[in-house]
Amino acid sequence: MDRKLVKRRGDTKWLVERSGRMNVDGVIFGSEQLIHEMDDMVVQQVRNVASLPGIVEGSFAMPDAHWGYGFCIGGVAAFDAEADGVISAGGVGFDIACGVRTLHTGLKAEDILPIREKIADALFHTIPAGVGSTGKLRLSVAKLDEVLQGGAQWAVENGYGEKDDLRFIEAGGCISGADPSQVSEQAKKRQLDEMGTLGSGNHYLEIQKVVEIYDTEAAAAFGIEEGDIKISIHCGSRGLGHQIGTDFLKRMTTDAKKHGLELPERELACAPLNSALGQSYLGAMRSGINCALANRQILMHLVRQVIADVAPQADIRLLYDVSHNTCQQEQHTVGGKQKKLFVHRKGATRAWGPGHDELPAEYRKIGQPVLIGGTMGTASYILVGTIQSERMAFGSACHGAGRNMSRRTATKKWNGKEVVGRLASQGILIRSRSLRGIAEEAPGAYKDVSEVVEATHQAGLAHKVAKLVPLVCVKG
């Protein structure tokens, strides 16, 4: 990044000063190294978001920020409906409520190592993943509407999981205000056979080993010990979410003028919160969130079944489930006053600090688990939200590594078979139907997640609790 575009305001805080059409300042969090490597377009997109009506406090970018569509990936912005604020389909993205769910297994590394191949094969056989895959569930449109209203609660009520799982999901596993009637027939049709599927690209299911604890108190509250085996699932709202994004991006773009909005770029498509289109998107997007929550709940259920067969002594429980592509209605203190805001997090994780009443009782004194995914060959991290983060960026943190290389460059540089072999020699088993997909997702194609996590920790957006490394990775 051209350093003239930002002004340093601390070790990990960089200011994009308000100018031109910006309504607020921009703030980018990151280490000197991350800022140096960041694309200039991140600054442009932070500025563009700052120019939207009704934006409150600032236009923020997390340490893993990179060039996105409209919003940068890693972008956070809150809007006040009473101040003509907007909601943006580009600010949520196509994979609505894509997120990470991490599971306890009750197993230790030594329990897993002798049966690792067997578990990898069983998971690969059971979890539908990759292009064109379908789940076992076949839904009618009427049944799908129930899923879109009920989220993970619907899944549990229909036999996919246990009631206690719901306490460890944002909003108890069901976002209120979903309106399936605002979701197009096309979007629903894409989802009828895709519930309980992982998808492809950077989505994965991993068996991970906890290798380091940074914060013993938070780790104890979350139930994490060194040597523990955890399982993480990274996926989203599948075809339904993608189609909602497509449908509303177009409608918001074509209706922008009607709403008196001058869009700095078309991908920043948005509509006033207090408009029919804004409310329609809100109802559809919340349906997409519930779809993703149900999807991850069904996948967890499949994992439970597989592990019960292969390692009957295991006890699969949910550590936490958090989405990183959303717009959520939240209460925040702005200028000493409580305000109801609509907070967009595009490739950013919510990170509530201690005391937040939305957290399950076990975590309330400590703060929210923030689940950060890595790559097939690198670490993942569990962090904890902070009070400072709520003051700095509406309680938000990074979401992952972010690519530093295009898919095309990656396939030219690496061969899928070689990547699988190299990772196997490091003790990481890969299961995928696509060798080309493996090459595109090679660990070297991503930024260093540790650097991103370190910057997030230093900035105080969330604090490090534990580091996990992959033992098995199932990819689409």
Partner: protein, 136 residues
């Protein structure tokens, strides 16, 4: 002719042709090459696609999104495209077959055509270009 162009997180698809229809057809081939090896996809089954938009670039995004939708719902891949225009309306015949991970070297699903780098234009060599970044 088609090609992929660089985008950090995702991938750009570009179709180039002597006519607008050819550029749209080649753009569709570029999309398929993101997902699979199109040469391995037999044009065994034919479907129809229609879309409409006031501007050419939005029509290209609609065309790509229509293909993504049909692939997702039918679990198909496509390898042959016949595109016709009537004012702001596109109608196409599209041929392909059911997706098979072993046969088609599947790489990644495409979520949507984005408006990033979305352009449809005739260059000074009288070639039509149709392009956008797709989200994977």
């Amino acid at each position: 002719m088609w090609l992929h162009f660089h985008h950090q997180a995702d991938i750009g698809i570009r179709g180039i042709g002597n006519t607008l229809a050819e550029a749209f057809r080649e753009g569709a081939m570029a999309l398929m090459a993101v997902i699979c090896t199109p040469e391995n996809v037999e044009p065994a089954e034919q479907i129809q696609i229609q879309c409409q938009a006031d501007e050419k670039d939005l029509l290209f995004a609609d065309w790509i999104n229509a293909l993504i939708y049909e692939m997702d719902v039918r679990k198909m891949l496509f390898s042959r495209f016949e595109v016709h225009f009537d004012n702001h309306q596109l109608s196409a015949k599209v041929w392909g077959e059911k997706a098979d991970p072993d046969k088609h070297e599947l790489a990644v699903e495409v979520k949507a055509a984005t408006f990033m780098e979305l352009k449809v234009y005739e260059n000074d060599r009288h070639q039509w270009i149709a392009q956008c970044v797709v989200d994977v």
